[in-house]
Subunit: 314 residues, 2 copies
């Protein structure tokens, strides 16, 4: 799960650090991340920027109902979808994000508009909706984002007695992407429906630069997934890049930070990391995390801990 | 502006990094930060926790109409007040925050309730309002937070032509506090009305752990103020503590990170920092920043660059 070729374009995606993935779902998750990585890689091979590659990859995962982002986002305690997303350009640290966004298909695209069309970095809730409207982003009925599976999962969660502990790791299917382009610039994008049965207005790590992701072409890029509150408390993405700055290899940096999060705040999660030299790693402390990486005309992918498959692109 | 006594309680507050402070306002700002630091110090001397001290200090600044937080918060583009706040306990990295909160007197107290009464770290907008209601926090008319000065300032800002550059440094009166208690634990609290004439739903650094502040009893605590979008991009608070971890003195760590923010993203701001050994510093790159620090029965305070006054508490 680690490669090394400098200045050679690479894109990685993840489909969320989770536990308890039903077996019939596994293959669809693998196909989803492979499709997203392939699309992001196509952008890079055609000379596109890392920023365009991560947006393209995450858009595909938002549109895929198997992932907890966009269509397929989990439901909050009131049965509605509220989504968080952020994107960052490692070239100049520009960033854009939305939180508690409703009734739009692709929060990552709205996050990019926040970055490029406003003097701000983060818009929330009704302000995000107002801005989406001003930008001509179509409003869609919230129900259009809801899948039958998520509706049933919320029902089951709500029927649990207080004595039963909720399973926070179950629904951490945040999606994300990181990329390095041929100019040597990096970017990240992260998008999520958050935690199932979350309180209305709950915001996790995904829209927070430094926690849900970070990108600086002087170092590399990270996209995070997992227990949002834990990721926020340790500033997971930036923490990993500090370890990279101090000379750790990307995989070791990710393992060190994830281990720290587990021991310090008992939080589990996963990350994808790419350095500005093209080294990359996909790491997690949960049971599994669907991931895919495209580099050198090949796609590497996996979901379980010791799974690393590869195929060549045509 | 730096002292050093280990395990001796200390509290620092700031009233926002700004430029163009009218001269008749200066003395009221000094009095406000001195009053807040004195109140926080009283909590510590009576054996209270750092967390209680920073909440008490920031509550006083929120209630003071001269500062851009709570009563006196600046107005957004629609002429309403939307506030961001966060608080963090360095003992275990617990944190709570609200963003785009309306119609409550003390966002910092609501942030603490998010930390202590929910499984989450950050609630936004209508979700924050719903939670405030459930906690019995009084709803107040939004107008009650608005001062005549802020109303006039917004009018003036709106009358500017597009050609005139807005003065983003003018209204950065975010307030904040950091403290070290006799147990050796640290905490921070940050609260703001954000940027004047901001878009509806705009969220800055103040509710984002790692940017608007950070507290870890293994290192120290920071509260940030200044251009929120810049602070977010560089994760200012956590960045300072990384420098502290790597052996820099608190003042040098603050200067290094503020200098980096200025050169990398052209952002100005200020910070207060306390280490877990009781060393402290107040630093800024804007024209001025009202600050006060209470330690060893004395209150140190200032506003201009080379101003450091001191008096003994009775």
């Amino acid at each position: 799960m680690a490669g090394s070729v400098a200045m050679n374009p690479v894109v990685l995606v993840h489909g969320g650090a989770s536990s308890e993935i039903p077996q019939d779902l596994e293959e669809r998750l693998r196909q989803g991340v492979v499709r997203a990585a392939t699309a992001g890689y196509k952008v890079l091979k055609e000379g596109g920027r890392a920023l365009d590659a991560v947006e393209a990859a995450v858009t595909i995962l938002e549109d895929d109902p198997e992932f907890n982002a966009g269509h397929g986002a989990v439901l909050n305690a009131e049965g509605t979808v509220e989504m968080d997303a952020s994107i960052m350009d490692g070239r100049d640290l520009s960033s854009g994000a939305v939180c508690a966004a409703r009734c739009i298909a692709n929060p990552i695209q709205l996050a990019r508009l926040v970055m490029e069309k406003t003097p701000h970095c983060l818009l929330t809730s009704h302000g995000a909706a107002k801005f989406a409207c001003a930008m001509g982003v179509p409003v869609i009925p919230g129900e259009q984002l809801i899948t039958e599976r998520n509706r049933q999962d919320l029902e089951k969660e709500k029927q649990k007695t207080d004595a039963e502990t909720p399973s926070p790791q179950k629904n951490q299917g945040t999606v994300g992407a990181v990329a390095l382009d041929s100019n040597g610039d990096v970017a990240y994008a992260t998008s999520t429906g958050g935690l199932m049965n979350k309180m209305v207005g709950r915001v996790g790590d995904s829209p927070c630069v430094g926690s849900g992701g970070y990108a600086d072409s002087a170092m590399g890029a990270v996209s995070s997934t997992g227990h949002g509150e834990s990721i926020l408390k340790v500033n997971l993405a930036r923490l990993i890049l500090f370890h990279v700055q101090q000379g750790k290899a990307v995989g070791e940096a990710a393992d060190t930070a994830l281990g720290y999060m587990k021991s310090k705040v008992k939080g589990e999660g996963g990350v994808i990391v790419v350095s500005n030299a093209g080294d990359w790693a996909a790491k997690w402390t949960t049971e599994s995390m669907p991931w895919a990486a495209a580099q050198d005309g090949k796609v590497h992918f996996g979901l379980h801990r010791d799974e690393a498959r590869v195929f060549s692109l045509p």
